[in-house]
Symmetry: C2
Subunit: 303 residues, 2 copies
């Protein structure tokens, strides 16, 4: 057993599974859980600031929609259950500093089954797991340098009925991040099978060119990101023209600014794509304003 205090703190961490607190790294799940066997589950990642989960209602709605897509029976009242689970984790792991930023993950799988094979039984007893990690805010050096991304070799099929579902079957996304790391990049951008820009591995993509904010339309096999929706409303509020559109990699290379937007990291500038600079290769003013406004919103407790 390590005596390193960070590792020791980690060993003490908890997770909330099916109504009770357990050790995050302890033996909890059955081998026959379909989440483990087949990635037969869905999840949400939620930002928690000062013990307040941001946009929890939106995440609970999307979680329910994801479950419906896979015919995973989800009990009512998930929003309240998740809220209580988060409160229990915060209390158990001492995550209650008012400045604490947490990333909370809610995972729902179809649960353990007795049989083998892809086709699930008609009845299921889903496994529900909630985890919380303390996260450092995005560093100043990242915000000054911006993210360097590469175009993933994995493509998204806009017609895929699961393209908009946040399943735990994330091997293609893991692969895209491994590929990006091999190429020296921080993240990867997916294209669709017909060559349009889609999204990053866990964030929505935005471009700004000549005062027009563009983001791939929902026809591009992307997740309906909660932060994506917020950014679109934000653009209207601050008087930035905006559109959801079919965009190509050329649009990205021709942009003045580009950024990613996601629940936990918020808005993060993208300054290079496959080694080529976006705009002047530095984070742009709209990007930084979007980031500031989103961070202010996250801290305001309004979400």
């Amino acid at each position: 057993m390590s005596t390193d205090p960070v590792a020791a703190r980690h060993l003490d961490r908890h997770a909330w599974v099916d109504g009770r607190l357990v050790r995050a790294l302890g033996p909890v799940l059955a081998v026959e859980d379909r989440g483990f066997q087949l990635g037969d589950g869905v999840f949400e990642t939620i930002r928690v600031h000062g013990a307040r989960p941001l946009e929890l209602g939106l995440h609970a709605e999307r979680l329910a929609a994801s479950c419906r897509a896979l015919e995973i029976p989800l009990a009512d009242g998930m929003e309240e259950r998740v809220r209580r689970a988060i409160a229990e984790l915060i209390a158990a792991d001492g995550l209650d500093d008012p400045d604490d930023e947490l990333s909370v993950r809610v995972t729902v799988t179809r649960g353990p089954v007795e049989g083998r094979g892809l086709l699930p039984p008609l009845e299921a007893r889903p496994t529900i797991a909630v985890q919380a990690w303390r996260v450092a805010p995005v560093g100043r050096e990242v915000l000054e340098r911006g993210l360097h991304v590469s175009i993933a070799s994995v493509r998204r099929d806009p017609q895929n009925p699961l393209a908009t579902v946040k399943t735990t079957s994330r091997a293609e996304f893991v692969f895209a991040r491994l590929e990006a790391r091999r190429r020296g990049a921080d993240d990867a951008i997916f294209l669709t099978t017909d060559g349009r820009l889609a999204e990053a591995t866990s964030a929505s993509l935005f471009l700004v060119r000549a005062g027009l904010l563009s983001t791939p339309s929902l026809d591009c096999g992307i997740l309906v990101g909660t932060t994506r929706e917020w950014i679109l409303r934000w653009a209207d509020r601050v008087g930035l023209r905006r559109r959801e559109a079919l965009l190509s990699p050329d649009d990205l290379f021709a942009a003045d600014e580009a950024f990613l937007a996601s629940s936990v990291a918020g808005v993060v500038p993208v300054t290079r794509v496959d080694g080529r600079p976006v705009g002047d290769g530095r984070p742009g003013p709209w990007t930084m304003r979007a980031r500031e406004d989103r961070e202010a919103f996250a801290r305001s407790g309004e979400g």
Copy 2:
């Protein structure tokens, strides 16, 4: 706790995890196992007849290739480890009847990690799980009626670098089976994004027309099935002309016979596609000969 003897027997079943026997439905895995979190793992399904695993070397090779694709470090000597795990499961669960047909699944995930997010740490401690199920042979009524399949709305991208990797991220395959069930079908056939026939959810697809055996080529985003390879060699041996080709749904509707081939179920006839009969709507002679010869091979102990 149920007193039903079948359920009781199931509760007694074991799985082999990381070198030891555990209860198949007992708490074993950490929530933070990336197999559970992200479908970040690979697997193989192996047929075991009379305690002999069929084509174990081929499965071990494919497992190693799948791990390499996802940068999951896999120790050497997996074939021997799996062979020992199977022997231990057979002994523990009394699966040693010479006529017992087993389906054995070997799962390797990247294992538990401390952090969050898609990008794995450079070091990993993979989880290795081996499970065995006693399976009934494919029933006479299935062989007489044949499978009814439907065309899946999920499509396969032939350029997907993971199309040929048997990951545990199987939500799209589960979805295809759920969709087939809603349509009253037994299984689903995937097309590629450019409209070619690809494969079934867990089996390779074969057609026979006018004495020519056809199967989708490896350019169609399919798994290099061990049974698929066997069937191609079998065709050469029995003097059936054969080709790997780009095939369309029209080829399927125009076929005299169609069948699926997989490790555990072997060769199984397909007699309807989206409600339309294949050929005369009955299992064909080449199909049944392929099935008989494959079953004889599986029982011979040569594999």
